[in-house]
């Protein structure tokens, strides 16, 4: 369908076109409150078309598979009539000597996993997570995707992908105290037994340590953010490193390329070629070949991410970060964000805080905050109550704290990092270790 769509668009749009077609099918098994509850299947397919006509850009999308390609082109042209005037250039094919980068995105074991396989994984997790006074939810899913992209300049590509996700949460309600400890695995391949064991250990360790509730500390204190807890500090930085924020003039990093803005031990990359991650792909959704982008190197801002449109407006090149769904137009989006690439981690037994707690006399270990992403994120200031956090006393976890809030400015804190843990892991599409910051405001009620 996509070749026909692009060919039709070429005839009717004088400035070219590009298109994405994507199909996915997914199987899920869900255990609710400790018992197998439902099984599901999803099949979805759709196409997204962008045209440039008379200097203006328009977009149309559909999941109606019976739609006539001509009709979709017509809708994209109608959208272009109102669209923005933009010098959008569709990339040509790479020279014959250059191939699309190779990255394994399709794994047979994930593709072929049956519903019974999913149920088996779910049951084994349930058995290992069940405990007196607690209730467990587990969801297991696998999916396969097929993606094709093409443009009128002759570039294009197609690839298949797989995805496998396992998530579990354990609920413990005692009186009015609600404790939820959760974790999830997400990858392109079937998870290994070690990975499942690590997920169980992660939940059980954090739950064990949370059973004792202690008073929160107060003041400007050393605070360790776990790989999951780090979101509040990563979000302003990744938002500010998007070319879109730079173009809008709202990125505090917009004029800082080449400047030392972060601690010299901070490096940040976006890596679409990481094997085994669901966000990996050989080319982006606008036919631009994938490559690793170094965003921050040893504390110095290197570059921002761009898709074709933001690159055209910023008069630069796309970094291969075009991401599009079936509806709407492409936007710049990260793939796999890696903080301080440490390579493969040894499968050491889980140690909360990644070895950073030893020198802390009184402080906090933050695993989850409430309200991350609310308010004006890009400016760097944050203030969040804790959802799951532990008090550290004399180098050890003393217990869980409730009714505490942490606040600070992400940019100030990233200037002087107290230390990086040895526990780098993937949470969603971000790989990071625990990080210790000094002088984070901790307030309590």
């Amino acid at each position: 369908m996509i070749a026909q769509l692009v060919e039709l668009a070429r005839r009717r749009a004088d400035g070219g076109a590009d298109a994405l077609w994507r199909r996915f099918e997914r199987t899920t098994a869900a255990f609710e409150w400790g018992r197998l509850k439902s099984a599901g299947t999803t099949e979805e397919a759709g196409a997204n078309l962008r045209v440039r006509h008379r200097g203006r850009v328009g977009v149309a999308g559909t999941t109606a598979t019976d739609v006539v390609p001509d009709e979709l082109v017509g809708r994209a042209l109608a959208s272009a009539e109102l669209g923005e005037a933009l010098e959008l250039a569709f990339p040509g094919p790479p020279p014959p000597s250059a191939h699309l980068p190779g990255v394994a995105t399709f794994f047979d074991r994930a593709a072929n996993a049956s519903l019974d396989d999913l149920i088996g994984i779910g049951r084994s997790l349930l058995t290992r997570l069940e405990r007196e006074g607690c209730r467990v939810n587990v969801a297991v899913e696998r999916e396969t995707t097929a993606t094709r992209v093409a443009n009128t300049a002759g570039a294009g590509g197609e690839y298949r992908g797989t995805g496998f996700g396992v998530s579990a949460d354990v609920w413990r309600i005692a009186g009015d105290d609600v404790l939820v400890v959760s974790d999830a695995l997400e990858g392109a391949d079937l998870p290994s037994e070690e990975a499942l064991a690590a997920l169980v250990a992660s939940i059980n360790t954090r739950l064990d340590q949370a059973l004792r509730v202690v008073a929160p500390p107060e003041g400007a204190l050393p605070v360790v953010f776990t790989p999951a807890g780090l979101s509040a500090l990563m979000l302003p930085v990744t938002q500010a490193l998007s070319g879109k924020a730079v173009l809008q003039g709202i990125s505090p990093l917009g004029a800082k390329v080449g400047e030392q803005v972060f601690d010299a031990r901070v490096s940040l990359t976006d890596d679409p070629l990481r094997v085994g991650r669901t966000a990996s792909r050989p080319l982006d959704d606008e036919c631009v070949p994938s490559r690793t982008t170094c965003l921050v190197e040893r504390g110095v801002v290197q570059r921002f991410i761009y898709d074709l449109e933001t690159a055209a407006r910023a008069k630069t090149e796309s970094t291969g970060h075009g991401s599009r769904g079936i509806f709407g137009k492409p936007v710049p989006a990260y793939t796999n964000i890696v903080l301080n690439d440490a390579g493969a981690q040894p499968a050491a037994p889980l140690q909360l805080g990644g070895g950073l707690l030893g020198d802390i006399r009184d402080g906090l270990l933050v695993d989850e905050l409430i309200g991350v992403g609310q308010g004006s994120v890009t400016g760097g200031a944050f203030s969040h109550p804790v959802a799951l956090a532990y008090r550290i006393e004399r180098g050890e976890i003393a217990g869980r704290v409730k009714d505490a809030a942490v606040a600070g400015n992400a940019y100030e804190l990233w200037k002087r990092v107290g230390g990086f843990g040895n526990d780098a892991r993937w949470t969603g599409s971000r790989c990071a270790p625990s990080v210790l910051f000094e002088g984070v405001s901790v307030a309590r009620r």
Partner: protein
């Protein structure tokens, strides 16, 4: 379509089967700054089947190709058989309904050219940009849709509906040197084109406020008497309490059930809370939920005492309570789960002035940039605040973040004014991967005698930039 769906139903060998099909036409226009970012029209269609065999779990299938309808009905039945469940899933009785409910489209958006939608939004965006050169960026979004909806189940319910939705939102970003502030306008209605005319004033007002916030001090963190305006009070009751009253949270969790025992005192006698899916003309309003159960007004808290909760047919049967018509799905891609519709704190007595009259030092928290709840803990970011000094509204303050424990906070609501209003906003509610669901919240001014207000909590690390 109905004939096709009932024919497909007949092929199911499951004890219970339901099919939903939706076809949605939508347009979206976005301005960023003076730039039209996009103007698109989309068409989304697909189906959903859910089947239940006696002794089996739910088998669910969703798909975009209607050619797959019959195959998916069979597949959902197989999936149900593949997941044995003990004790079995039961559904509360709901009499079968046949209805053709075409809601008032109030100017069908499908008949309005996209160029006219662009002009409307351009005017509202211009109202924000025109306020001051301090407004460095705006984001204005117009979105409308009309969904044609078909639902049939094997117990004889047959529904056909036409559901409109139109939303407008505006974000104004004000900047001076390193200080960035924003203002947010949001309008949403289950109506059509006529209902979004003449709305420029609201957009202008939020941009003016963003500029004023540049000079406003950050609120001093601490514990204060806090008055919530109707908008924030509505978001609060939805986020902090509403989700706990969704029965899927409690029905199979004995500890949660104990925590939410009917008859438990949650607040002072001034507090009355409910959820009304049948209230006329609101975004959370529909004649039936996505299981074919009629919607209704459900009292959740009466005079401070927990009186009811929100149910699907499954949770109602499991708890021996009546179904309330709260099983909702955001689209054919998802199963119906227990959700709110139009959630409210009922009006009390007196005026806003009565609430602040005896407050020496307090915070008037207005509007909502967002809110999140982790069960008993919540955090809400107000759009802006004003200090209350000696019974009067005083200076503007910013970064007003309310954080607290639900049980303590509900219990500290000590005065509720009579000035109830529904907040007809856009956006929506998220749960279990289903976002955004159209809901509405309503409340009058509400006073919390003591609440923790975040903001400047002292210590280094707060000020400054990169």
């Amino acid at each position: 379509m109905i004939d096709r769906l009932t024919a497909a139903l007949a092929r199911s060998r499951a004890d219970y089967t339901e099919i939903r099909v939706e076809r949605t036409w939508s347009t979206a226009v976005t301005f960023r700054g003076r730039r039209l970012e996009s103007a698109t029209a989309s068409e989304d269609q697909g189906g959903f089947v859910r089947a239940l065999h006696a002794g089996g779990g739910w088998g669910v299938a969703s798909f975009t190709s209607l050619d797959r309808l019959e195959a998916m009905v069979v597949r959902a039945g197989e999936l149900s058989r593949a997941v044995p469940v003990d004790p079995p899933i039961r559904l509360a009785d709901v009499p079968p309904h046949q209805a053709d409910a075409l809601l008032d489209l109030d100017g069908d958006v499908r008949g309005v050219p996209i160029a006219a939608k662009k002009r409307l939004l351009e005017a509202y965006n211009g109202a924000m940009l025109g306020v001051s050169d301090r407004i460095v960026d705006t984001l204005a979004v117009y979105r409308d849709e009309v969904s044609e909806y078909w639902y049939v189940n094997s117990q004889g319910t047959i529904l056909h509906e036409l559901r409109p939705d139109v939303t407008l939102s505006g974000t104004a970003v004000a900047r001076r040197d390193g200080t960035i502030e924003k203002g947010l306008e949001s309008i949403g209605m289950r109506r059509g084109w006529n209902s979004v005319q003449d709305k420029a004033a609201g957009f202008r007002e939020v941009a003016e406020r963003a500029v004023q916030l540049l000079d406003a001090p950050m609120v001093q963190g601490g514990t204060y008497p806090v008055i919530l305006d109707p908008e924030l009070a509505g978001v609060f009751i939805h986020e902090a309490f509403g989700h706990l009253s969704e029965a899927d949270f409690v029905y199979e969790n004995p500890q949660a059930r104990e925590m939410m025992t009917l008859g438990r005192r949650f607040g002072k006698p001034v507090l009355n809370v409910g959820d009304n899916g049948a209230a006329p003309g609101l975004r959370g309003t529909l004649p039936f939920d996505d299981e074919g159960t009629p919607t209704r007004d459900t009292t959740l808290i009466k005079e401070g005492i927990l009186l009811g909760r929100l149910h699907s047919r499954e949770t109602a049967a499991a708890m021996g309570e009546p179904p309330t018509g709260n099983a909702r799905a955001i689209s054919f891609r998802h199963p119906p789960i227990v959700r709110m519709t139009n959630t409210y704190i009922a009006g009390g007595r007196g005026t806003f002035e009565d609430l602040i009259g005896d407050v020496k030092l307090g915070v008037y928290a207005c509007g909502a940039f967002g809110g999140q709840t982790m069960l008993e803990n919540f955090s809400f970011t107000a759009a802006y605040g004003r200090m209350i000094r000696d019974g009067r509204v005083a200076e503007l303050v910013k970064d007003v973040v309310l954080a607290g424990n639900l049980f303590q906070t509900l219990d500290r609501i000590d005065h509720i004014a009579a000035d109830f209003r529904w907040n007809q906003m856009g956006g929506g509610c998220g749960k279990a991967g289903q976002f955004p669901l159209s809901v509405t919240e309503g409340a009058p001014h509400v006073r919390i005698e003591e609440a923790l207000v975040g903001g400047d909590v002292g210590g280094p690390g707060r000020a400054g930039g990169p």
